[in-house]
């Protein structure tokens, strides 16, 4: 596979074209704005919590294919998981895009997230892939209403 196809995998192209959970959420427990001033990527991530259970996640905004697909995959993956599980995924994802995962086995455990493995070959794009995750992390852990990657 060429390095471009590895970056823009089918999963990413698909989620970029038809992002899941791409909507404003009424009655969200929390929403946080995430902004990457360098490239202008700009999203709001919404979460609805029931205790420490994430019952709904959505997002809206605009940005590059990598950032949008990442937000979409994230929203699909953390729904119906606990806050602690989402945080665990965030840590894995971070290691994945930094190219720090141990091997195939770990990659398999990540399911759809593994589509972002190619990002590690493009250091300039790590921030794009991580923007939604940082925003979600902020929503789950802080009282911030907006974050910026710079």
């Amino acid at each position: 596979m060429s390095v471009l196809n590895e970056l823009y995998q089918q999963v990413i192209l698909d989620h970029n074209k038809s992002p899941r959970n791409f909507r404003v959420m009424e009655g969200a427990t929390k929403h946080v704005e995430g902004y990457n001033p360098l490239c202008g990527d700009h999203y709001t991530v919404y979460v609805k919590l029931d205790g420490d259970q994430i019952v709904d996640v959505s997002f809206e905004g605009a940005g590059c294919a990598i950032s949008k697909a990442s937000a979409s995959v994230m929203s699909a993956m953390v729904k119906n998981h606990t806050v602690a599980e989402a945080e665990e995924l965030f840590r894995d994802f971070h290691r994945l895009v930094k190219g720090e995962l141990a091997g195939e086995e770990e990659l398999e455990r990540l399911g759809k997230l593994a589509a972002f493995a190619g990002v590690s070959e493009f250091p300039a794009r790590v921030k794009c892939a991580s923007l939604a995750w940082h925003t979600l992390h902020s929503a789950l852990n802080t009282n911030e209403t907006s974050i910026s990657t710079e």
């Binding site: 471009l4 196809n5 360098l38 490239c39 990527d41 590059c64 794009r125």
Partner: protein, 420 residues
């Protein structure tokens, strides 16, 4: 001489031919990126350096390095002579009237900050106005904003049209009795627009208002004549005109510089110091505190000599052809919209592609060996004006070729293939 004069035509042809043959003077351009020959289209960010500039700086450090203006010894004399010799080259390059009107600075940003600080201290009070335009680089916005905040002055902005030109009919009303300075870019880094600076200066001078021109994007592309423009200040950076980073020039008319307090205090800018009182040095040294970037200055001198050799008018002609070619080609790519379609443009092709974010364009082009810039280009108000979060920008220099434009267009097809 008329265009049909055979000697003129041959001369023109030879000048263009010389430019077409100069690519090999730039060692960096000889490399491959991601297995593809490098196509460097990020010249508006910084330009590459010819061997002559690299050699001149190396020679300085190998044989002349020493501090200037303060030694009695041989090397210091020689370094001082070389460095001051650059001021003479700059004078001719931009047709300044006097070397005392040329101040060495770190770059365009520092030049503008110097004026905002010193001119601002001397002349700007609460309620006064500074006039800029809607297509300025952040470095010709923020220093004025800071000054206005400090002084209680007001920042006014000349609007821009849908084609990316200044709305000239809005200018007279914006030049008011309160306007203390107009600060305007010669060539826009985000749009490529060449502004009618001479006309703007005349309009401002009619009301006694001085004008600063940000020349960062102009000096690599067009012949600059500060006496003809009649501007009061002109700022540029060496690194965008094939010289090194960390050095640039502020031109200022003596009548203004004489009335402005120093920018920084320190060595070289004084005549005498006691604890009771310091008297300042003459121009231009009053504005040159501390040991300057001597090696960088030498590099700037070599870049000017190199450009003189090629001839700025021939460069303008050559680049005009290249930009026209690239514009025609890119308009044939489905979904492309050019941002900045002014009649007079230099060196810059800013564009967006339907449904594809500029950042993705930049990554795919890079894999194909084509270096462009994507983002807001330090001109966020321009992005807001055109309703885009960012653009992709290809920017050219005289060492670029039509073959490179073809490679760039082919890479855009790849973008559509991957993401379309």
């Amino acid at each position: 001489m008329t265009a049909s004069d055979p000697t003129t035509l041959t001369e023109e042809f030879h000048k263009l031919l010389r430019i077409a043959g100069c690519r090999h003077h730039f060692p960096l351009l000889r490399q491959s990126v991601n297995g593809k020959p490098l196509v460097y289209f990020d010249n508006a960010a910084t330009s590459q350096k010819p061997q002559a500039v690299i050699d001149a700086m190396m020679r300085y450090y190998e044989a002349e390095n020493s501090n200037i203006h303060r030694g009695v010894h041989y090397l210091s004399e020689r370094a001082t002579q070389s460095y001051e010799g650059v001021r003479v080259k700059v004078k001719a390059f931009m047709n300044a009237a006097d070397t005392r009107e040329l101040i060495f600075v770190r770059g365009t940003t520092e030049a503008i900050n110097l004026v905002a600080h010193s001119f601002g201290r001397a002349f700007v009070k609460a309620g006064d106005e500074i006039l800029i335009s809607g297509m300025e680089h952040h470095s010709n916005i923020v220093p004025w904003q800071m000054l206005c905040e400090e002084r209680g002055a007001v920042l006014k902005v000349i609007p821009i049209t849908d084609t990316g030109e200044l709305q000239m009919d809005a200018v007279p009303a914006l030049l008011t009795p309160k306007t203390k300075l107009m600060a305007i870019t010669h060539v826009s880094n985000a749009l490529g627009t060449v502004n009618p600076v001479k006309e703007l200066v005349a309009m401002a001078h009619e009301k006694g208002i001085p004008v600063l021109v940000d020349g960062a994007q102009a000096v690599p592309h067009v012949r600059v004549d500060v006496q003809d423009l009649d501007c009061d200040f002109y700022a540029f950076s060496a690194h965008k005109m094939f010289g090194p980073t960390g050095v640039g020039i502020l031109y200022g008319k003596k009548k203004w510089l004489d009335q402005m307090p120093p920018y920084q205090g320190g060595g070289d800018m004084i005549r005498s110091v006691t604890f009771a009182r310091t008297t300042y040095n003459d121009l231009p040294y009053k504005f040159e505190a501390g040991t300057p970037n001597i090696g960088g200055g030498i590099g700037l001198g070599a870049a000017i000599e190199y450009l003189n050799e090629l001839n700025m008018d021939a460069i303008r002609q050559f680049e005009h052809d290249l930009l026209t070619y690239a514009t025609e080609k890119i308009l044939a790519v489905p979904g492309v919209r050019i941002i900045g379609t002014a009649k007079e443009k230099a060196g810059v092709l800013s564009f967006v592609m339907e449904g594809i974010h500029p950042h993705d364009i930049g990554t795919i082009l890079d894999v194909e060996g084509v270096a462009i810039r994507t983002g807001h280009h330090c001109a966020q108000p321009v992005m807001q004006r055109f309703g885009v979060p960012a653009t992709a920008r290809a920017s050219f220099a005289f060492y670029n070729t039509k073959e490179e434009v073809d490679a760039f267009i082919k890479a855009l097809d790849k973008v559509r293939e991957v993401l379309g």
